[in-house]
Structures are given as C-alpha cells and as structure tokens.
C-alpha cells in the first residue's frame, strides 16, 4: 500500500470494497436456504422433505391446537397463515411457548406429522410492563400484537 500514490490507494480500496460487497451478496443469495434458520409450513407442504432429513420448522402455534397428551407427549399445529403442519413433541417446553406465539422445532417430517426432538420459543421485539398490559386490557384498548400482525409475527 505505501508504495502507491494516494489517488491509486483510494481506487484500490474502492474496488476492494465493491468486490467484497458483491461477493457477500452472491454468497448470501446462493446459501439462502442454508443460512435461513428454519422452514415455514408452506414450504414443507409444498415439497415434503424425506423422512430421514432432520430440519427446523418455524411458525405460529395455531390457536386451540395445543393438546397435552398422556405422559409428556404434546401435540399442536404450526401455521404461517398459508399452510398448517401438525407437530408431536415429547419433552419440556420453554416458558414462552404458548398458542398464537412463534416457535421453532427441530425434527423429522414423517407421514404428514412433524416429530420434533427440540422446541424453541421465538419472541418478538415488543417489551411492555405487565401492569401496562393489564391496564390496557381492562380498558379494552389492547390488542395482542400477534393477532394484529397475523402470520407475520413469526418472521420478525
């Protein structure tokens, strides 16, 4: 670098910056599927993955679908607004796991049912004190942000 003249140094840096930006964009675009953390129910129903493949499924837990069965087995379904996939899971759920909230599960898709081995809860970037929510609900002003945003909340 030090042997070059100042204008040439600026040119070299500019070309390097553009090359970096373009290569990052190309790599990011090419690896989009690998970099995305989970797949949506629509993607799963459109093209069912093979039974042996372990992948992550993400979406909202459908309202009224959560059933705590015998023992520790839990069933519910996950939706993204378009498609809905039933899920079966045995284990302990995270605190934030609720109906109408986002979740991400790891597991296999077998005979139309997603057999999860791990469940993570997803939350959005909304932070409000509990007292404020209760006061707003008492006045009937508060709307659950996930209801208002529909399936979009899961992708925040």
């Amino acid at each position: 670098m030090k042997s070059l003249k100042k204008t040439r140094r600026i040119q070299v840096i500019a070309v390097a910056a553009v090359a970096l930006a373009v290569s990052t964009a190309l790599i990011g675009y090419a690896l989009q599927d690998g970099i995305n953390f989970f797949r949506s129910p629509s993607e799963i129903t459109a093209e069912a993955p093979p039974e042996t493949e372990v992948f992550r499924l993400g979406g909202l837990v459908s309202e009224g679908s959560l059933v705590r069965g015998q023992g520790e087995t839990i069933t519910f379904s996950v939706t993204d607004g378009g498609a809905t996939v039933p899920v079966e899971y045995t284990g302990v759920l995270p605190d934030l796991f609720e109906e109408n909230q986002g979740m991400i599960g790891t597991g296999r898709y077998i005979n139309g049912v997603f057999q999860a081995s791990e469940i993570l809860a997803k939350h959005d970037e909304t932070y409000v004190p509990r007292e404020v929510i209760e006061a707003l609900e008492a006045q009937g002003v508060y709307r659950n942000p996930t209801d208002a945003a529909g399936g979009g909340a899961a992708t925040n």
Binding site: K2, G28, A121, E125, Y127, P129, V132
Partner: protein, 242 residues
C-alpha cells in the same frame, strides 16, 4: 481549523487530555443511573418477566461491539489513504474494547436465550455472524501483535478490518436479509417507531449513551498509551544511536 489537525500527535494528546475525564465521568454517571434504574426500578415484562432486564446490558454491548468495528474501519481507511499514525493507533486501541463488548453481548445473549428461547446458542444468521465478528476481533488483535514493522502491521490490519466489516454489517442487518431466524428484529431504531414501552426505553437509552461514552473514554485512554509507547520506542532508538 480542520479535522486533520488532530492527526498531529501533540495536538491529539492535548485535546484528548481534557476530553478524557469528561467522557469518563459522564459514562460512570450514566451507567450507574441507567443500570440501577433498569435493574431495580422497572416493572417485569408481560411475557418475559424480569428476564427482560438483560436488555439493559445486552443491547448497549451489542451496539458498541458493532459500532467499534465501524470506528476501526473509518480510522483504518484514514490510515490507508492519508497515512496518519494517530488514526492507525486509534484503530489498534479500539480492538480489545470492541472484543470485550462482543463477548459481553454473546454471554448476556446466551443467558437471555436459555430461559426465553430454550437454548443457550443456535446457529441463527444473526448469532452466527456475531460469533464470526468476535473471531475477527481476535484475528485483528493477533495480527497487530504478530507483525514486527508497525507500518506494515497497520496496513495488513486495515485490510483485515475492511473484510471483517462484512460481518459487522451482517450482525446488524442479518435479521432483515434472512427473515427466517430465531433472533427477533431490532427494538431500537432511529427511523421507525419502537415497540418498547417508555418505562424501558428511558433507562435503556441512558445505558446506551453510557456505553458510548465508556467506549470513547477507553479508546482515548488506550490511544494515548499507544502514542506514548511509540514515543518511548523512538527515544530508545535515538539513545542507542547516540
């Protein structure tokens, strides 16, 4: 008066000498008030309970981890183009501070993720690019330490800094590029309405301002040390020649 006057080490030492205590004191005040307010005088979140209070450490640390790299990028480019030694030394001085901020953000993030998401770590795009940024900090510091000639070291680390900026940008915007991740979107942003209640964002902004002031104070302090180290080296060389 021009900005480039401060490229003169003498002028820089003078100005930074009286700026340093101002930033140090204001950072101490803002962090004490902000953290005490945040941890003890805010209500629990409607879904996350008191775990939400990690936000007062996690967000400012992550903010500074990324901004420190951008500061290093700017000073590195100034070094590459204008060859001001103070600029290169400022980049060198900022790296360990940025690395510690990155580590704080990673650790507090894990502590937050365990009860809320149900996992300490996930290979989510944002988390992964943040980890790579941390590794870039380590590499950057190692490169400064391993190259003997200071000018060559400054050149090489500047190029490394340019490459690493990819991950600094990704750490901040990965949520927007790949929307199917685990990490939620930005809570604080300058260009749109925030989703955070005012009782949280006031102490949070105070903590962020405190971290910014802390970073500036530490960078000034460490840059002054680096300049003095250079002077000492020059004196030693002169003595040996005499």
């Amino acid at each position: 008066m021009s900005l480039w006057e401060y490229a003169n080490p003498k002028k820089f030492m003078q100005t930074s000498g009286w700026l340093l205590p101002i930033f140090a004191v204001s950072s101490a005040v803002m962090l004490t008030v902000g953290l005490v307010w945040g941890f003890f005088f805010t209500a629990d979140d409607y879904r996350q309970g008191s775990t939400v209070k990690i936000i007062f450490l996690h967000v400012p640390a992550a903010l500074m981890a990324i901004n420190a790299w951008f500061m290093m990028l700017v000073t590195s480019l100034i070094w590459l183009i204008r060859r001001h030694h103070v600029s290169a030394l400022a980049a060198k001085a900022a790296a360990p501070i940025g690395m510690v901020m990155t580590l704080i953000a990673l650790v507090t993030g894990a502590v937050w993720g365990q009860p809320m998401w149900g996992t300490w770590w996930a290979w989510d795009p944002r988390l992964t690019s943040f980890l790579i940024l941390f590794l870039f900090y380590l590499g950057y510091i190692a490169m400064w330490a391993s190259v003997e000639n200071p000018d060559t070291a400054a050149d090489l680390t500047s190029v490394l800094c340019l490459v690493g900026s990819v991950f600094a940008v990704l750490s901040r915007y990965a949520v927007n590029f790949w929307n199917q991740g685990l990490h939620q979107g930005a809570t604080f942003s300058v260009d749109r309405e925030t989703n955070i209640h005012s009782s949280y964002y006031l102490p949070a902004y105070l903590c962020m301002a405190g971290f910014v002031a802390l970073f500036i104070a530490l960078v000034l302090l460490r840059t002054r040390t680096e300049i003095r180290k250079r002077r000492l080296q020059a004196l030693l060389v002169r003595e040996r020649l005499a």
